[in-house]
Amino acid sequence: MYTKPRLQGRPIWHVPDEEIYSKGHLACPGCGVAISARLALKILGRKTILVVPACCFAVIDGPFPHSAAGVPLLHCAFETAAATASGVRAGLASRGDTDTRVVAWAGDGGTYDIGFQALSAAAERNEDILYVCYDNEAYMNTGIQRSGATPFSAWTTTTPAYPGKLEHKKDLGAIMIAHRIPYFATACVSYVDDFLGKFRKAREIRGFRFIHLLSSCSPGWKISEADSIESGFLAVRSRVFPLMEVEDGGSTRRITVNPAPVPVRRYLERQGRFKHLKDGDIDAIQQHVDRRWAELASRFDLPKPAPSHAAPAAARGAFPGADGLARLLQAHAATLSEREREFIRELLSSMWNNPAYASQSDQDLVGLAITLSQLAGSF
């Protein structure tokens, strides 16, 4: 039985224990959207209505008379998630209900392509809804066809010839940010704390909010079912999918997690959909990613670097469990795999930059943990 790690009696991820999204859903093993839905609903809570167009999740939730969502779920036509959610919002308001959260939950086809017109209009009207696009980078529900979200050179059943898709992925983030909406974020379940913090923030903001999730798909990306979380780590670390948020129509633009970068090759080589690529192709993709990152880094605030020496002064002596924590980290360091070490390092670093841990005592704790993990030598 897995137990959530705790600091001072509080889980280090502020993940509510209540499970809303239930067992028995129909997602493939390792499906990114199943994990996303489970975590997102823990934050959004039971007073949420999901509006779901045609997409994997429309199947995952279950056929009549089953539903795994644990909250009311309205299936809508493929291209109508944003418009239908706008109607649900207005209908609730006409009953005097302005609290219930209305969430459009759509795939990349329903967002980048067929549903884009309605999405843009709902953003322009600043509808009080949260639109979540879980982007698995192709029409996966119909069996891996190219979408506007499919990355350059990816194999799909409709881009079967070398080198795969000839065009780059549509920069939906830039388009949504240009709508100057109250909140825009990218997130990925591999960075749980960052993911949860963004849903927590989006939950409290009124007006149009958009969260873009990178959502792994083992059959579509041709990865092992066990590689779902790992592929998300590599997408972020390689800067293929930077984690960011934009608030107040653009007044705050932040990269929220900025781990030590790895070459794009490491992200690509684990996925069968890129296995046809030659060295020159990978170099070209690396250059594209570098250019995009340079653009982003010039316009977005980067997170403050995590402390690398001593623990914050305020924490010294104020935290009686420090020795215990150091011993714990040292004792376990040897037994951890490379992936687990990477995970803990990413987690601590994302906690350091997460506003959910903004209080001085939280920051002290996180800083201390990072310092200790570095002192432990193996992290």
Binding site: A58, G62, A118
Partner: protein, 382 residues
């Protein structure tokens, strides 16, 4: 107290929507519907009612938005015409199959290409099989009364309604119209309580995958509701007659009791036909009129009763199913097939894209039908 006002057909729709206190309205402009949504915005701005108006970017989203709102239990309305209705097509199925009591006003306008803004019925009749009731109206008063009736009947049988009116001839023509007071409307149209809705206290999904054992059963229930709707329409019509003195029937006759010949049509052409019927009666031709007001659910019994034992039925269609003939004619003939009282039928198609249907053209149809019939499927009215 009711008040008398000079209203166009479109203004009559807007007045009815305000009287019904529609809660969520999706709006998008298209000629000749636009003055409906303008008037609705005007009435809302003046505080006549307090709807949530969603200014969508297309008719497709207008219908999607009212579908979303209807699933929360709100009373909903939208209006469109022609290309806009065609764009909504997928979602008309969604509203019908979803058993949502949405009311839509469609101003009949011919389909492009070439562009036409003038009336014919091909837009609404192309949506025949989407699971919507359809009411074809003739006057601003009938439009106002029928819009209120549509809300009542839709909410009782959980099937959406389309109130249909001719472009310009009715939508933009002013007529003295009685606007009922709020108390009368309240007696006719109680507050809507949805039998099922999106409710966080009772989470369930709507519209999930229906496997073959279930799908047909759900559609059979829609058919059952449609069949039951005629009785509800009749009851609503009787109640309205009691409250206001006005009733419109399911089909309605004119000088039909002793008529040998019935001129059968729908919408504003019925008004023109009455003038011709009066004229021909003077000549001693025993002709009467029959207006088909409710097209879905289709009034088989009412039509059979009305057409029983006549010497001839002349059916005029302002629409055409290409490769077949007039759509009302096809449907009326389907009601008469194999039935012993069925009269011979003479079919005409004309008035497409706003071409005038004049008293002379109607008289021409009658005279031609009284002469030698050559057995053709239908004749054009040019």
């Amino acid at each position: 107290m009711p008040r008398r006002e000079l209203l166009t057909g479109n203004e009559a729709v807007a007045q009815a929507v305000a009287l019904a206190n529609a809660q969520v309205i999706g709006i998008y402009p298209i000629t000749p519907q636009t003055t409906i949504i303008e008037k609705i915005c005007d009435l809302a701005a003046k505080g006549a009612f307090h709807p949530r108006i969603i200014h969508v970017e297309s008719e497709h989203s207008a219908m999607a938005a009212v579908i979303g709102a209807a699933f929360t239990g709100a009373r909903t309305f939208t209006a469109t015409s022609s290309q806009g209705l065609a764009l909504m097509h997928e979602l008309l199925h969604w509203a019908g199959g979803g058993r949502l009591p949405i009311v839509l006003a469609n101003v009949n306008r011919a389909m492009a290409p070439g562009w036409s803004i003038w009336t014919d019925q091909n837009d609404s009749l192309s949506q025949r099989d989407t699971g919507w009731m359809q009411f074809y109206c003739e006057s601003a008063q009938e439009v106002l009364d029928t819009t209120l009736l549509a809300f009542r009947v839709s909410e009782r049988v959980m099937v959406p309604s389309m109130v249909v009116l001719d472009a310009f001839v009715l939508s933009h023509t002013s007529e003295p119209t009685e606007v009922p007071d709020a108390d009368t409307v309240a007696q006719f149209l109680p507050k809507y309580e949805a039998p099922y809705r999106l409710d966080v206290e009772k989470p369930c999904s709507f519209g999930a995958l229906l496997r073959p054992p279930f799908y047909q059963e759900v559609r059979a229930k829609l058919q059952e509701a449609m069949e039951g709707a005629l009785k509800e329409i009749d009851e609503a019509d009787q109640l309205w007659r009691k409250l206001t003195g006005r009733g419109w029937g399911i089909v309605s006759g004119y000088r039909h009791e002793d008529a040998d010949i019935l001129f059968v049509t729908s919408a504003t052409t019925a008004s023109t036909a009455r003038v011709v019927i009066d004229r021909l009666r003077v000549e001693g031709i025993k002709i009467g009129g029959l207006k088909v007001r409710v097209f879905r659910p289709f009034p088989f019994e009412e039509l059979r009763r009305a057409l029983a034992g006549r010497r001839l039925a002349i059916i005029f269609d302002r629409n055409l199913s290409y490769g077949h003939h007039g759509i009302f004619a096809q449907e009326i003939k389907s009601a008469l097939y194999g039935w012993r009282g069925a009269p011979p039928v003479s079919c005409y198609v004309g008035g497409l894209g706003g071409r005038d249907v004049t008293p002379e053209s109607i008289e021409g149809m009658v005279r031609r039908s009284l002469g030698e019939r050559n057995g053709e499927l239908f004749s054009w009215v040019r």
